[in-house]
Structures are given as structure tokens and as C-alpha cells.
């Protein structure tokens, strides 16, 4: 981000403790840029503490020394500042940048998918070399579509609606303000993507400049800025042809090929006015001839847009013929005798100058253009109309730059120079410097299609980059920028998955670093994991969510997520906890609050013995409750069955035996008939005996029961045994 200096801001300004030092970034001296941090705190600063957030956001805590001499009472002790280390795009606002980021995803994904299809196709048919051409063609189609999609995303260059009655003095049509980003993209498209229009490359450059010349005006005067100035003056001018500026602007516009503007302006010439037509016949004739010649200029391009002038030729031989004819006409006009009859000096000289421009007089061209690019473009129009290939273009650019040195470098110009010099690395570096990671990550697709060498350079896996290619490393950087914003992290996976080597690992880290407290984020996160088959990550995330909910009092949600994560270790711990807490209060009604959880835990973690007991215990409690509620004997039978299975089960801890039996006293003393048969009763008696034996051991845990519980149970069992024996 060159040339962006910070205002010290209100908080810094008042305190004066923050300098706004800014070392401009220059590609030659590889020194770090110094940004000042606007924390607005009084010195001294005792310590800084840093922490990376997601992506490339750095959080800096600026801490003051803990009160040595606390002079100011209201002074804060420190401040936390969030620093985003790269956006690179000063031109577009945050919202607009996000729009671009989101909008560029579908073309990118579609293009990548197309590339993958192509690669698969190539692998299957690699023997047949003849397919290469077809394949290349398909690839260009893909890349062109991609480029067009992105281009339209960056803004349209459509003119604003034209008024019904056109102002004759309005020479410049109002268009939407072009952005440098779009201009840069178009430049890449012209040179790398649009292979079909390679033959008329120079004409495309002319169009490019016509659309975007205004951008260059920011750093130095251009033809566009000249035109804008003149447009403002135009309204007040009475005799337009007397004004030298009129002729100057005319030749400048002609030099860069803005023919329709030139013709329109020529028609403003005074000799066209009806009352003057009579006595300025020759002059008018000359003006008209020149304007007709201009509008008939042959151009090597498939078609011209509406309202633009020139005759198009698709094939080179036709073009060369037409061009020579046109030139001959101009030369003829130049030598014509009519010039002597033209009385108006300015008109004569101005028109002569324009003819010289059309004849390709380099001195004249140099005089009327401002920026070297304009000179460069004018060379294609008038001096070397048959130029093809980049090599000669680069030489020409060097020459033009010598003639018109730049005062300050514009990012676009640097990119153009890189392209002309066929230096992919420079193009990438300049893209990154001027437009940030978005541009680089997306333009790489164009560059790789551009030429085989570039593809080799960008796709080659380098040990020095940790085994990834330059293209991948740039995509990683862009994905990191995306993931640093809470509204754009969702699209980072698309770019990360296109990085075959290190993308997935970074995606895993990104997903791990997302907050799980918010359900939407959590669900989206899990969905992404499912999409890319990141099972370990998703189970880890669900584990974190489970622990979070469990610890924050939402036990049900906690168990649910832990189950989803299949975290047996924690689930069995939870089961243990439940078990313990149930054990503490087995006869208590607080069991109810655990019931739901036991239900939840139930189906999955069968392995845990404790839980099995809890399930049976729950069944037992349920039927026992029905018994106490005065329900039928069915419930009692069920309760007895549960009791027996509980007592038979080895997983039932010993300390529960007595409470269980005590709880079921009513069953043992069932009035109608004995519910337990002899063998069942004997089993319970045996257990009771075992329990009395265990009582002698030191590690026995006394159940929280009335002291006569054991005796009453024993009594009930004995009675039951007697009744059962009688029954049998």
C-alpha cells in the first residue's frame, strides 16, 4: 500500500505521543514498512503483548507500567488494538471488497472445476498429441469465461444514460468512474486470457487506454485531464477555432485514437456555422475532409462499438491495403493546393498538425501526448500499425518511457511493464503490491493459461516454499486474508481446498479456531467438515462444544455433542458422575433431574457398566412408583422383575443392594400373595448374607438408611420365603 499515510487521528493528536512515521514501500529496498500504532496512550509503555487471531489479524495489547507515579487519575492501564496486516486495497471499501470476494467465488470454483475436468481428460488421452490443440482451445474458452465473469464483477464501464437532447458541446461522455482494480484485471485479460483477439492486441490497448486514461490523471497530466479542462472552458468560448487549446486538445485526442471525440469537436469549428459557410468555404472543406478521413481510418479489429469511428478489417492483407490507401489520401491532402486558400491561420496549422499525426510523425506525436502510455498507444495507431508480438512492444515501451519520463509510478503501469517484459514474477509482485492478495490469487489463473513457461514457473512445486507452488502459496495467503474476517471465512475453504498440498491442513486449523459458542457458527462449521470429509476435525469441534455446554450448565446439549463426537472417555466420565450423584441420593426424588440425562446417554454408551445399572434402576424406580401410586399387580410384577435383574447383574454395586431391597419392602410384603418365588427369595437372601459379611470389611460404605433397615429387609424376605414355600 504505497503512499497511504495515516492521520494521527483525534486520540493521538491530543496526546501527541504517537508519531505517524511511514516508510514508503519500495520494491528495491527490502525493508519493512513501519506503521505506527494508534493506541492513544500516554508514555511510557511497559509492554506489548501479541496474539494472532484467525487469518492475518494481529491483536496487540499495549500495557502501561502498573502505576509508578499515578499522576492522572482517569488514565487507562492499557489498550487492546486489532491490526489487520493486509488488505492492500485502499481503493475499495470494506463492504465493496466483501462483495468482490463473494462474487469471485463462483467463477473461481467453476474455472477450477473445469481445469480439473481438463486435467482428467488429458491424463486419459495423453498419448494422442493431436488433442492438445483442442484442449488448449477449450482451456482458453474456460479462462475467458472466468475472466469475463470477474471483470463484470469489478464494475461495468457502461456510460451513464445519455440525455435525450444531446448537448452539442459535450465532448466527453460521462462514464462511471473506472477503478484501478478493474483496469488491472482488463490488462491481464487482454494479454493472458483473450487469445482469440491476439491479432488485434494493439487496438485492445487503445480501447483500454480510452476507458481508463482518467485513472492515470491522478499522478500526472494526461490527455483525458486535458480534455476535461477544455470541456470546462468550452461553454464560455465564442470563437472556438481561435483558441490554440482547441487545436491542441484535438491533436492529443487524435493521437490516442479517440476518433469520435475528434470528429465531434471538429464539427464545432466555426466554419460550419451557416452565416459563415459562404465566405469560409475552403476552410470548411478542409475541416470536413480531415474529419471524413479521420472517420474512415482503417483499423485492425473485428468490429467497432456503436458511436465509434473507423473501418474495421479482420484480415491483415485487407487491412494493409486499406491502410496504404488511406495514407495515400492523407499525403495527397497534405500536398493539396487548397491550403494556400485557407485564410484562418490557426485552422490551417491545426489541421496540418493533425495530418502530421496521422502520417505518423513521431515528433508531433511526442508533443501532443502527455503520458508515455499515450505515446506508446499512438505509436500503434500511426507509426507501427502492423505490430504483433510482445517483444517489439517492450522495446517501444522503453523508448516511450525515455521520451516521457514518469514523475511517479502507478501500480497499473508497473503491471503493464511486467507484462510487456514477459516477467511473470514482476507481474505477480506488482499485482500483490498494488491490489493485494485477492488480485494475485485470481490473476494467477490467467497467468498460468497465458504461457507454458509461466505455468511451469507458477505450478512447479518448490522445496524452498515447503513443497508447494507459487500459485498455491498465493492462494493460501488469500485464504488467510479471507479467514481473518468473520463475514468472509466461509468462502476461505473453497480456496483452501484448491491448494492440494497444504490447503487442507490450514483449513483444519481455521475450522478449529472458529468459536463454537454460537450455534450457527458451530453448525456451519460441522457442515463444512462434512463437505470436505474432515471427520477428526469435526469430532474435535463437537467435543469442544460438548465440554463447553456441559461446563456451562447445559448438560443435555453437552451430552448430545459429546455423543456426536463419539468421545467415549468423556461420556463414561459423565456416566460415572451421574452414577455417583445418583448413588448419593438413591432414595431421593432428585433422581428425576438425572432421568433425562440417563435417557440421553442410554443408547450410545453401552460399554459403561455403571450406566447399565442406572437404566435398570430407572425402570425399577418407574414401576415401583406405579406400585406406590396404587396401580395394579402388573406393575408390581414388573418391579420385582427389575429388582431381580438388578440384583443378579454384576454391575450393580454392592452399596446399592440394601437401599434397593429397602425400597422394595412393599413388594416383599405384598399383601395378596408372595411376588417372589423360592429361588428368587433365596437369591436375595444370599445377597443379604453377602452384604452382612462385607460389612466387616474396612472399605464398606454404609448406606444412608435407618439402622433397622437390614433387619426389616431380612424379616420381610424370611416372611416371603415362608409364604412362597407354602404356595408351592
Amino acid at each position: 500500500m504505497p503512499g497511504v499515510a495515516y492521520d494521527s487521528g483525534d486520540m493521538a493528536g491530543a496526546l501527541g505521543s504517537n508519531d505517524t512515521a511511514m516508510v514508503p514501500h519500495s520494491p528495491e529496498i527490502r525493508q519493512p514498512v513501519v506503521y505506527s500504532l494508534h493506541h492513544g496512550l500516554n508514555p511510557p509503555i511497559a509492554r506489548l503483548s501479541i496474539s494472532w487471531s484467525r487469518g492475518n489479524t494481529l491483536r496487540v495489547s499495549v500495557l502501561r507500567p502498573p502505576s509508578g507515579e499515578d499522576s492522572e487519575k482517569d488514565e487507562v492501564g492499557g489498550k487492546v488494538v486489532e491490526v489487520r496486516l493486509s488488505n492492500g486495497d485502499g481503493e475499495n471499501g470494506d463492504a465493496k471488497w466483501r462483495r468482490i470476494a463473494y462474487g469471485s467465488v463462483p467463477p473461481f470454483a467453476y474455472y477450477r472445476a473445469g481445469g480439473a475436468r481438463l486435467r482428467a481428460y488429458r491424463r486419459s488421452q495423453w498419448v494422442r498429441r493431436c488433442t492438445t490443440l483442442i484442449e488448449k482451445y477449450i482451456r482458453w474458452e474456460y479462462v475467458m469465461e472466468y475472466s469475463k465473469d470477474i471483470n463484470s464483477l469489478l464494475g461495468s464501464s457502461k456510460s451513464l444514460p445519455i440525455a435525450v437532447i444531446e448537448d452539442p458541446k459535450m465532448v466527453l461522455r460521462k462514464v462511471e468512474e473506472p477503478t484501478a482494480l478493474k483496469a488491472a484485471w482488463e490488462l491481464m485479460e487482454i494479454f493472458y486470457a483473450d487469445k482469440q483477439s491476439q491479432p488485434w492486441l494493439p487496438e485492445r490497448l487503445v480501447d483500454w487506454l480510452a476507458d481508463l486514461d482518467s485513472l492515470l490523471s491522478s499522478t500526472q497530466p494526461t490527455v483525458h485531464s486535458k480534455l476535461v479542462d477544455f470541456q470546462n472552458e468550452l461553454v464560455e468560448l465564442q470563437v472556438i477555432e481561435d483558441n490554440p487549446k482547441y487545436w491542441e486538445v484535438l491533436s492529443s485526442a487524435l493521437a490516442v485514437g479517440w476518433l469520435e471525440i475528434v470528429v465531434k469537436m471538429l464539427r464545432l469549428h466555426g466554419s460550419y456555422q451557416l452565416h459563415q459557410l459562404g465566405n469560409r468555404e475552403t476552410e470548411n472543406g478542409l475541416v470536413e475532409t480531415v474529419s471524413v478521413l479521420i472517420s474512415k481510418m482503417p483499423r485492425m479489429r473485428p468490429e467497432v462499438e456503436d458511436g465509434k469511428l473507423g473501418e474495421c478489417f479482420k484480415a491483415k492483407p485487407d487491412f494493409i491495403k486499406a491502410w496504404e490507401k488511406w495514407r495515400a489520401q492523407i499525403t495527397k491532402l497534405d500536398c493539396s493546393a487548397f491550403w494556400r486558400h485557407c485564410d484562418h491561420r490557426q485552422t490551417r496549422e491545426g489541421l496540418k498538425n493533425m495530418i502530421q499525426i496521422m502520417l505518423g510523425n513521431t515528433d508531433n506525436l511526442c508533443n501532443v501526448t502527455c503520458h508515455w502510455i499515450e505515446l506508446f498507444v499512438s505509436h500503434f495507431l500511426y507509426v507501427r500499425p502492423f505490430t504483433v508480438g510482445l517483444e517489439s512492444m517492450h522495446d517501444l515501451a522503453q523508448k516511450c518511457m525515455l521520451l516521457k519520463p514518469m514523475s511517479s509510478s502507478h501500480g497499473l503501469i508497473a503491471i503493464l511493464l511486467g507484462i510487456l517484459g514477459e516477467n511473470t514474477e514482476v507481474v505477480l509482485a506488482e499485482c500483490s503490491r498494488a491490489f493485494g492478495p485477492w488480485m494475485v490469487a485470481h490473476a494467477i489463473e490467467l497467468l498460468t493459461t497465458g504461457s507454458d513457461e509461466a505455468e511451469l514457473l507458477l505450478q512447479e512445486e518448490r522445496d524452498s516454499l515447503g513443497g508447494i507452488s507459487i500459485a498455491e502459496s498465493h492462494r493460501l495467503v488469500y485464504a488467510q486474508v479471507l479467514s481473518s474476517h468473520p463475514l468472509t471465512w466461509q468462502i476461505a475453504p473453497i480456496y483452501l481446498t484448491s491448494c492440494t498440498k497444504q490447503g487442507m491442513a490450514l483449513l483444519e486449523i481455521l475450522l478449529y479456531k472458529l468459536p463454537i459458542q454460537h450455534n450457527e457458527t458451530l453448525l456451519k462449521n460441522i457442515e463444512i467438515c462434512r463437505l470436505y470429509e474432515l471427520d477428526t476435525v469435526s469430532s474435535n469441534i463437537m467435543k469442544i462444544a460438548g465440554v463447553y455446554h456441559w461446563k456451562h450448565g447445559r448438560k443435555g446439549a453437552g451430552v448430545f455433542w459429546l455423543q456426536q463426537a463419539r468421545d467415549e472417555v468423556r461420556l463414561s466420565r459423565i456416566a460415572q458422575q451421574l452414577f455417583d450423584s445418583v448413588g448419593k441420593s438413591i432414595s431421593d426424588e432428585s433422581f428425576k433431574q438425572w432421568e433425562g440425562l440417563i435417557e440421553l446417554l442410554g443408547s450410545e454408551s453401552k460399554a459403561t457398566g455403571g450406566l447399565e445399572f442406572l437404566h435398570k434402576y430407572r425402570d425399577f424406580k418407574k414401576s415401583l412408583k406405579q406400585v406406590y401410586d396404587g396401580k395394579t399387580a402388573d406393575a408390581a410384577w414388573q418391579a420385582v422383575e427389575s429388582l431381580i435383574s438388578l440384583m443378579k447383574n454384576p454391575s450393580t454395586p454392592q452399596r446399592f443392594w440394601l437401599p434397593l431391597l429397602h425400597d422394595s419392602l412393599k413388594l416383599l410384603n405384598w399383601p395378596d400373595r408372595p411376588l417372589l418365588d423360592v429361588s428368587q427369595t433365596t437369591l436375595l437372601l444370599n445377597k443379604l448374607q453377602e452384604l452382612s459379611m462385607a460389612k466387616l470389611r474396612p472399605d464398606f460404605i454404609e448406606a444412608d438408611l435407618p439402622p433397622q433397615a437390614l433387619i426389616s429387609v431380612r424379616l420381610a424376605l424370611a416372611a416371603n420365603l415362608g409364604r412362597a414355600t407354602l404356595e408351592e
Binding site: S17, N18, A21, Q31, P32, V33, V34, Y35, L37, H39, P44, R47, L48, S49, I50, S51, W52, S53, G55, N56, T57, L58, R59, V60, S61, P66, V76, G77, G78, V80, V81, V83, A429, S432, D452, L456, Q459, E460, S464, G466, G467, I470, V477, Q480, S483, P486, Q502, L506, I509, K513, P515, I516, H518, T521, V547, Y548, W550, H552, G553, R570
Partner: protein, 468 residues
């Protein structure tokens, strides 16, 4: 560029963000733990949600978050050397609040640093004390942060036999391998700043599952510099590189180390120091790698606010390098602090081996040509052998177009394209066959000639006959 998030209370001495950057815990000189939360994931506005008194008498000097798999909890190190674990829990019907889980008393020694790491066996906590001891605790119950067991206690020395006497350490820095998950054993790097040279250098410790003990597997110091006091260490996340990257800060600068992944026969990991960054004039306080492990951020005490003259290698021109300086110009007494961010690419080897290899290959041709010249001149070599030696040139000649073809068509070196490589090497085989055949022929010829003229030991036959 920068955005203020929150103002901190007076007397704040340390701060720490949790894993997702949504919660900030700060500790102050009066022993208060303050937690800030951002409620909405889309906004970064923070609000204070809790204030608890961790220690009545001592201030907090360091805060570390427990990994999220174990709940929302922090470890607070206090100036009196105690370490207490605080956890945010909602128990039974009570509202959410920060509660003390447990606290560790280190006795006479001061606790310098503590860090948590997740391993297959569960949560581990490494603590480093001012007397040079290192303790590793293990959490017994994954749901309760109360019960810890001391798993190991050792000193930061590479040679475990000799023990170092009582040491006086000023600071310690611990950094776990961020890759360590519940699926693998983890390791950490630890360095001291002390008066005992053996303790100082940063060493990588790995848990040896077989013998249930911690072993030093690498010492991150050049042979001459291994007694330098270490200010800070940072282990970078590895997203697919074939080696680990660790940064170690000493008074000589911040050195970046490449650590091999596989141990050699005696259990050590291969090491390579790939660069030294001179970021800060004074002590480095803290270093942190970003989530891709490509950018290192450091804070430290700068003597003067000079830009960092870090020279860059060729590859890293694709990255931009930035420095955020928070500086003051008022008075000479104030310290100057800076955060330096180094987006170095931690991969770059210092020398491009590929280019050297090809140069060596080209240069080796000249001595060989000399050899051919002299062997031809001597006229001593058999014809076929001589032809074989010359035939090697055919092999050399064939590899050049083959190499180019491999590079252009397959985008890799010749050695990786089997059919091309095999074809070229076949010429080499022919060469060998020619040489051997030539020599064999010459030997036979010489043997035949000798047999015709003389027997090896003329007198031997007669002698045996006479003795018999």
C-alpha cells in the same frame, strides 16, 4: 488498518486470548483476573464479563488458557510463584462464574512460565521454575480440572546424567508443538534465561511412550552459542511442510530452526538453522507464529526505533514484510517498544542445491575430456575400451535433450521420468559393456601372447621331477 478493541484497567500486566479469539483474559498487579467477551461472532466489540480476585496479596504476571477441549479455564501465574487454575462453570443451580479449580504451590522457587499441551494421554501442563526445574503435570479426569498428577520433573539439560546445581533463572519460555492433538504424542520446546549455561539453550522435549519419560531430542543452538540466555521460543504450526519450524530468541537475534520429523539412530532430530533475524535491540518479550506458520510476530524492547535491516532471500519477495512500531518520541527515558512481524517463509534453504548440481555436472566434463585426451595420446588403451570411454560422451549428449524434454513435458527433472531416464542410462550401460569387453579382450590377448613365449616359473617343473 488498526482498530481499538477495548481499554484495559489500570495496573494490567498481562493478557491472553483464547483459542478462537473471542475471549480475552487479563491479569493485573493487584491480583485481579478480568475476562472480556465478544458476544457476537461477527463483531469484535468486547465487554467485561467477569472480575475475580485470584490472589489477595500478589499480582498476576502470566495467564495461559487451557485448550478448549477441557473447558473455559485459565492458569494464572502470580508474582509469589503460585499457579492457580480458574474455570468458568455453572454448577447445579448457580449462575455461570469463574471458580478456583486448584492451585499449585511451588515452594521457594518462582514459577516462570506455564503452558498447556494436548496429547494422546490427555491434557498436560509444563511449568518452569526459577531454580531451573521443569515439571510436567497430567490431568487425570478430562472433565475435572481439579486433579493433576505430577508426571515428570527434570532439568533443561541435554545430558540427563549430570545434574546442575541450584540455578537462578530470570525467565523461561515454553512452546508446545501446536500439532499435538489427542491422536499423537506431543512435544515442546523450552528455553531458560539463567546464570547456569547448561540450562539456557532451547531444547525440544518429547515424551517417550515406551519408557514413560521425557527425552531431549534436539538442542536449538549453534555449538558456540549454546549458553546464550533464551528470551522466548515459538513453535510454528505445520500445515504440510516436511519439517517443523521453531523460532528462538536470544540476545543475538531471533534464529529460525528447521527441525526434521524423523529421529536418527540415537533419537535426535536433524536440525538446520536457516536464518537469524535481528528484530529487537533489547530483550524479546514474546513471539507468536500465525495460523499458517508463515509469519512470525514478536514484541520486544527496542533500543532505537530503527527499521529492521533483515535481509531477505530470493524466494520471499512474494511476501511483503511489515513492521508495526509503537514508538514514542518524548524524552530519552521512555522505552521504545515494537512489534515486528516477519513474514519470512520459513522454508527457504540457503543454497539452491539444484543449480549447484547442474553446474557441477557441467564442470565435471572438462577433467573427463582431459582424461580422454591423455588416454588417446598414450595409445595404451585397447581400442574397444577407448571407444567405450568416448561413448560416455554420447550418454552425456543424450541426457541434455532428454532433460529438457522432461522439464518441458513433465515439469520435473530427468531423474523422475522413468522411461527417459532409463533410456539415457542404457547408454551408460553400453559404455560400461564396451569398456569391460575391451579390457577383457586385451587381457586375453596378453595372456595368449605370454603363453606362447614362456612358462611362469621355468625351473619349477624340473625341480619337482628331481626331488621325486
Amino acid at each position: 488498518m488498526e482498530k481499538p478493541l477495548v481499554a484495559l484497567d489500570k495496573g494490567t500486566t498481562c493478557s491472553s486470548w483464547n483459542y478462537c479469539g473471542q475471549r480475552l483474559a487479563t491479569g493485573s498487579v493487584d491480583g485481579t483476573l478480568v475476562v472480556f467477551d465478544s458476544r457476537d461472532p461477527c463483531s469484535s466489540s468486547l465487554s467485561c464479563t467477569s472480575k475475580s480476585k485470584v490472589h489477595e496479596a500478589a499480582g498476576i504476571v502470566k495467564i495461559a488458557w487451557v485448550p478448549p477441549e477441557y473447558g473455559d479455564a485459565v492458569a494464572c501465574v502470580c508474582t509469589d510463584g503460585t499457579l492457580s487454575l480458574w474455570e468458568e462453570v455453572a454448577e447445579d443451580a448457580q449462575p455461570l462464574q469463574w471458580k478456583l479449580c486448584t492451585s499449585f504451590n511451588s515452594g521457594s522457587a518462582q514459577l516462570l512460565d506455564t503452558q498447556f499441551g494436548v496429547s494422546a494421554a490427555g491434557l498436560k501442563m509444563v511449568t518452569a521454575y526459577s531454580d531451573g526445574r521443569v515439571k510436567v503435570y497430567e490431568l487425570l479426569d478430562p472433565l475435572e480440572l481439579k486433579n493433576w498428577q505430577l508426571q515428570a520433573e527434570f532439568q533443561n539439560v541435554i545430558d540427563s546424567v549430570s545434574t546442575v546445581g541450584p540455578a537462578m533463572c530470570l525467565s523461561a519460555s515454553i512452546s508446545w508443538n501446536p500439532q499435538g492433538g489427542e491422536s499423537q504424542e506431543s512435544s515442546f520446546v523450552l528455553g531458560f534465561s539463567s546464570n547456569t549455561p547448561q540450562l539456557n539453550s532451547a531444547k525440544v522435549w518429547e515424551f517417550d511412550q515406551a519408557h514413560q519419560r521425557w527425552l531431549p531430542v534436539a538442542e536449538l543452538a549453534s555449538p558456540g552459542d549454546n549458553d546464550n540466555q533464551v528470551y522466548a521460543v515459538a513453535w510454528a504450526t505445520n500445515i504440510g511442510r516436511p519439517y517443523e519450524v521453531i523460532a528462538v530468541a536470544t540476545h543475538k537475534g531471533i534464529s529460525i530452526w528447521h527441525l526434521g520429523l524423523n529421529p536418527d539412530s540415537d533419537g535426535r532430530l536433524s536440525l538446520e538453522k536457516i536464518g537469524v533475524l535481528s528484530g529487537h535491540k533489547g530483550e524479546v518479550w514474546q513471539m507468536e507464529w500465525d495460523m499458517s506458520g508463515m509469519t512470525l510476530a514478536t514484541t520486544g524492547n527496542d533500543g532505537s526505533p530503527e527499521p529492521n535491516p533483515f535481509s531477505r532471500n530470493r524466494e520471499s519477495k512474494f511476501y511483503t514484510e511489515r513492521r508495526i512500531g509503537s514508538q514514542n518520541r518524548r524524552g530519552g527515558g521512555g522505552s521504545v517498544c515494537g512489534v515486528v512481524v516477519f513474514p519470512i517463509d520459513p522454508w527457504a534453504p540457503s543454497i539452491d542445491s539444484q543449480s549447484i548440481a547442474s553446474q557441477l555436472f557441467a564442470a565435471s566434463l572438462f577433467p573427463y575430456l582431459g582424461f580422454l585426451y591423455f588416454i588417446t595420446k598414450s595409445k595404451s588403451a585397447p581400442k574397444l575400451t577407448l571407444f567405450g570411454f568416448y561413448f560416455l560422451l554420447a550418454f552425456v549428449g543424450a541426457t541434455i535433450p532428454a532433460g529438457i524434454y522432461a522439464k518441458v513435458n513433465y515439469g520435473t527433472s530427468l531423474a523422475n521420468v522413468d522411461w527417459l531416464h532409463g533410456g539415457a542410462e542404457a547408454l551408460l550401460t553400453l559404455t560400461n559393456i564396451f569398456i569391460v569387453l575391451g579390457l577383457r579382450g586385451a587381457l586375453r590377448e596378453a595372456g595368449d601372447a605370454e603363453e606362447g613365449t614362456s612358462t611362469p616359473i621355468p625351473g619349477l617343473k624340473d625341480e619337482t621331477e628331481t626331488s621325486a
